[in-house]
Symmetry: C2
Subunit: 242 residues, 2 copies
Amino acid sequence: MTQNGPDDAVPPAAAAGAATAPAGAETADVPPGVVDLLGVLAYALLVAFFRLAEDAALAESLADKAALGEMAVAEFGQFQMVRGRIQELNVDPDEAMRPFVDGIDEFHARTAPSDWLEGLVKAYVGDGIAADFCRMIAEVLDPSTRELVLAVRRDTGQAEFAAARVRQAIEADPRLAGRLGLWARRLVGEALGQAQRIAAEHEALAGLLAGGEVTQLGEIGRMFAQLTDAHARRMVTLGLAE
Amino acid sequence: MTQNGPDDAVPPAAAAGAATAPAGAETADVPPGVVDLLGVLAYALLVAFFRLAEDAALAESLADKAALGEMAVAEFGQFQMVRGRIQELNVDPDEAMRPFVDGIDEFHARTAPSDWLEGLVKAYVGDGIAADFCRMIAEVLDPSTRELVLAVRRDTGQAEFAAARVRQAIEADPRLAGRLGLWARRLVGEALGQAQRIAAEHEALAGLLAGGEVTQLGEIGRMFAQLTDAHARRMVTLGLAE
């Protein structure tokens, strides 16, 4: 399938990353960990597309189905952008994504929504955390990767649809706030736990996330704390005050 | 939800169609049955999007997942085009689609693929029949609806992906041809059976399909025979000779 299998002549430094890449001129320009970052983003977006399409199929009204379908299609467009950048770097996108398949699949398996509202909360929470993460990580990236990452996560206002539907549901039945608030907390816990695990297993990616700091785990911990704070603020606007 | 409920002042001729529409100037220009045709097309495309996204999630390779995802996204773009036309005619898209939800959902419930290959065959067969149907129906449509219907079904070459994968699988294991051939026959039987039922239940739509002929059922029968012939030719190119 790929031309960049482990048996090819890849320098040890490049091979240390999870995704293999030929030592081409383009790839040499990007810091270690960037292919990993693009791989994890690409697979996360691809799976987000499938999950949103699945949730959309469960919507009762045709208008909601179509609105969620639009969110899903937007995620797929973002996946295509990231995949394009991986290809520009002469890396096989499958190879770049593969090391992150298990971690991301596990996150989704552990957070399967039990109904339409939980699906909406998950879409909203996931979108918010991903957007914050991209804004934070953008600071430590090379200019062209930074531009891509910021473009990918530019707010299309689609998360607002999910938020509006959840607020409506809570207004109609205030008891929902408790259950959905717990669900949101579980989601952010699972997401950050899985992200910690992924960072721990991918040294080059962890180095990138930490901005080259020696105290990587501390830096990553601080980043996750910021993500959690921003998440908590979003929960308040959603009517799910902690 | 809609402003065009059955209690509104809709002339009997318009109310005979399954979808209600205000007697606006735009709607008056299109023959009876056109809103039904657009409604059935829109819902078929929306559901095709969900089904393809579901099948894509089952693909083993990341490249296959992405390729099926692209097909799904293309279906959604076509859905958006048809929905836009319904809105231009001042009809609520949900109202236009609703009469066809049960029939199309039933088709999919009766033809749930049991594996990835059956999903690919279904995508290919469905896409082919839909494209042929649109080409045939285009002849009896008003110019702007005709343009839309032809644009919607313009071949994007994506069905070729499904066909190539099925051919590969049959070359690798020729015994598959028997099972998949039977499956394709069942699909076309279910599709045309369901289409007959939908036409029988929607007089204005049936009139449109028959090109205004008095012998509607005969005309529709001839159209379905042509669809079956074209399907049989495609099966040969797929390696599933009857």
